[in-house]
């Protein structure tokens, strides 16, 4: 074989490869099953970008509304906070607060060294209109008038 000139191009071409019986008959069916024969799974709900963004926006709105609804008001302690404190304690606290303000007012008027303008004095009293109305003795008003 070593000295022999091998001429591939002019030698007989043979196919040494074989296929199983009926292979090509079945091949087209196998291909069909994977192409147009494939059962298409159609989702019940089709999802789109718009739907995704709309869902996110809706969740944010609900979350924000929920937050503001459940958040306690700034000027209110909330009923749970006050529930643990006895009523008498609350009354005492309020009374004590009022006395301090009254004493402060008297002190200011008697002490010449303290220099507050009238407007400043009134501002520092922290007396609301409601407080004034509550302190007025309605029985005496008619007589005075």
């Amino acid at each position: 074989m070593k000295n022999e000139i091998i001429d591939i191009e002019n030698s007989q071409k043979e196919n040494i490869f074989k296929v199983p019986e009926n292979y090509f008959s079945n091949l087209s069916m196998q291909i069909q099953a994977q192409t147009y024969g494939k059962i298409k799974v159609v989702p019940l709900i089709s999802w789109s970008k718009q739907r995704t963004w709309a869902s996110i926006a809706a969740c944010l709105i609900i979350g924000i509304l929920g937050y503001f609804t459940s958040m306690p008001q700034q000027d209110s302690l909330g009923t749970e906070s006050l529930a643990s404190i006895a009523n008498q304690e609350i009354i005492n606290y309020l009374l004590q607060g009022n006395m301090n303000q009254t004493d402060f007012a008297e002190q200011i008027s008697n002490d010449k060294t303290l220099k507050f303008g009238d407007s400043e004095l009134l501002d520092n009293l922290k007396v609301t209109d409601k407080d004034i109305l509550q302190s007025i003795n309605y029985e005496n008003i008619d007589h005075e008038i």
């Binding site: 091998i6 591939i8 043979e14 196919n15 490869f17 074989k18 292979y23 196998q30 291909i31 994977q34």
Partner: protein, 186 residues
């Protein structure tokens, strides 16, 4: 049963119509399945691999046929898809197992010896093993020229390689194989 044989333009025209799409594709498969299979089989050697790759090729054809613009012949386009499937398969094999070229050659060579779907006289088996020593693209060109008897111009459209380069590659491949056979013990 009379077998209807459609031309490429018939197939494309019928494929474009939803009502006849499946029929057209079925005809396309019948026309090209053997050519595609044998083209792949000669490259990958193993029947099961060739079967998988042939089916993959036709699945890709099914998905992409709407986009076929007719810039080339349908046959050329189909062959190009099949060629890419082969080359990608062989490249993946090498990467997966980190095998150098010789080991892939040895693996394919062993398949020639062991498979019950490969039979031929000793010279033919040696010849196939000699082809396995060629680089994949060169082997591909050799197969298309030697076995499929395609013109260089057709091979050029399939591979994207110039006719001149293909001629050089083929003649070099022939020389290598002849040398290999001359030096191999019988």
């Amino acid at each position: 049963m009379i077998e209807i044989k459609l031309t490429d333009s018939d197939v494309l025209a019928k494929f474009a119509v939803p009502e006849t799409r499946n029929f057209a594709f079925d005809q396309l498969v019948r026309i090209y399945q053997q050519k595609v299979y044998w083209h792949i089989r000669k490259m990958v050697i193993d029947h099961d691999d060739a079967n998988d790759l042939t089916q993959e090729t036709f699945i890709k054809i099914w998905k992409a046929l709407d986009d076929f613009k007719g810039n080339s012949q349908l046959f050329t386009w189909i062959y190009r898809i099949a060629t890419n499937e082969c080359l990608n398969h062989l490249a993946k094999k090498r990467r997966r197992f980190f095998l150098p070229l010789n080991d892939i050659t040895e693996e394919l060579s062993n398949k020639i010896d062991d498979s019950n779907l490969i039979s031929g006289d000793e010279i033919q088996l040696k010849f196939q093993k000699a082809l396995l020593t060629l680089p994949d693209k060169q082997r591909l060109v050799f197969n298309m020229k030697y076995y499929d008897e395609l013109k260089y111009e057709e091979i050029s459209k399939i591979t994207g390689t110039s006719v001149g380069a293909l001629k050089a590659s083929y003649h070099l491949a022939v020389k290598k194989v002849e040398e290999h056979l001359k030096n191999s013990p019988f």
